[in-house]
Symmetry: C2
Subunit: 208 residues, 2 copies
DNA sequence: ATAACGCTGTTATTTTTTTCACAATTTAAT
DNA sequence: ATTAAATTGTGAAAAAAATAACAGCGTTAT
């Protein structure tokens, strides 16, 4: 199968989210141009993206919503449920934990870690908080491949290294630092300062 | 001046953040290939980006760190301080407010809004929380052009419309919905589910 | 002075991503 | 059956982004 770009994956995820929100008994099908209006992408882009996962619609009828959701799901999520580890139960960690809870059946934060005695060994949102010392042990035992970093900036690198050692293959990093880890591990950075600065730049220059 | 792409802006912001973190009296200059190692971009890319804001380094010496930070700052931030409005003081809103506090001199959340009586008319991190009913009034009075949305998903569209009405030009949206607002307003979406799904996808497929 | 070095600035090239445009196809109407 | 209508799937074109390549220059060593 041809490799799919990061941008395409992002759009596919957007389509799936959108479709999940409009499931109804009334409408069974949807056209690429409708998805285009809803997302702001072009219809050609959408047809191409959907083509790339091997799903086919029908001319005249468009795409069958239920089947498309199913195909997108298989492509994005794979077969098995993916457990996720979260490190750092501060503001950000808690928001993330609350938010993901029950939202995607195939993704669940099954283990969290902190080094604050007030948090360790308690259960948050149904998720056990372990001491960060046990990180490798738990991640290996539960065969977790996805990690979220929500610790202060100067702890992030060390957490990332330990995740890498424990066999994590993808990291979502909320700390505002570039992580230095072996290639082969996918890292997605979500730096809030960057986001605000970017919006501020376009807000400022748009009006000139 | 030629218009600068979104991707370039993101990288410029990354360079600036990085340089701010390594300010020291020891090292005065930096080479494009050093920035390349630190960021993971190529040196050619970096020279090109820096060129695009009109800054020039010196052969042999590379870039003067202080001057480069200054040029990047002028380009990214502009002259004047930019006030920012935050709507929704839940988990996400609070994290954002705490986090941005004092981090960028030119960016400050000067007004926040909620509809929860327990929060309205109180001060959080030095930032006044107004009732969301007064949104237009305050935003217009303080001439705010940048807004952050951190309210529940089904409130986001209405908040966005009110922001647009009040003259906001850029929105950072943490709610997992596509906002429908007039063109000319820049919108940056930060959907956490999307981020986790993306990382999970690459974690899963990388190891195959 | 001058030569050698190693960098930047910038043009050219390549690669990737998006858009265009239309033949093929399915359905519904006649 | 035949026609008309409207959409998909996709090759081709265009646009955007990244990389490569190197001339020219400032610095340093000699
Ligand atoms: N991307 C964003 O939107 C955003 C917003 C705010 C903050 N941040 C960043 O996210 C990170 C967390 O922010 P926060 O506001 O939640 O901070 P916080 O201080 O509220 O939470 C940090 C948590 O990590 C725990 N911790 C500290 N060191 C640890 C370690 N070595 N191992 C395990 N746990 C450890 C602390 O006990 C605490 O519970 C910071 O790096 C911050 O800069 C990002
Ligand atoms: N992008 C992310 O990383 C991420 C993570 C978690 C949550 N979220 C999203 O961010 C948003 C906020 O999440 P949260 O966990 O902070 O939720 P929350 O419920 O903790 O906070 C929402 C806040 O908005 C206020 N509010 C509600 N309606 C309002 C209105 N009409 N006007 C003004 N204020 C109003 C509430 O009083 C509350 O203080 C949600 O849309 C959620 O889906 C995003």
């Amino acid at each position: 199968m041809k490799t799919i770009s990061e941008k395409t994956i992002e759009r596919l995820i957007i389509y799936r989210g959108l479709l999940l929100n409009l499931v109804s008994d009334k409408v069974k099908n949807i056209f690429s141009h409708q998805l285009a209006t809803m997302t702001g992408f072009t219809s050609a882009q959408i047809r191409r993206d959907i083509m790339s996962i091997g799903y086919s619609g029908s001319p005249v009828r468009g795409y069958d919503i239920q089947n498309l959701i199913k195909s997108l799901g298989e492509f994005i999520d794979g077969e098995e449920k993916q457990p996720v580890a979260l490190v750092g139960l501060g503001h950000v960690g808690r928001a993330v934990l609350d938010y993901l809870k029950g939202r995607r059946p195939k993704l669940e934060i099954t283990a969290s870690f902190d080094d604050d005695p007030a948090k360790v060994d308690r259960v948050f949102q149904g998720c056990m908080c372990y001491h960060v010392n046990d990180l490798e042990k738990i991640i290996e035992k539960e065969n977790i491949k996805v990690g979220i970093i929500a610790v202060p900036a100067d702890e992030a690198q060390s957490v990332a290294e330990r995740m890498a050692n424990a066999g994590i293959k993808g990291i979502l990093n909320y700390a505002p630092v570039k992580l230095n880890i072996p290639s082969g591990i996918y890292v997605e950075n979500r730096d809030m300062t960057l986001a605000v600065e970017k919006v501020a730049y376009f807000a400022r220059t748009a009006s000139e």
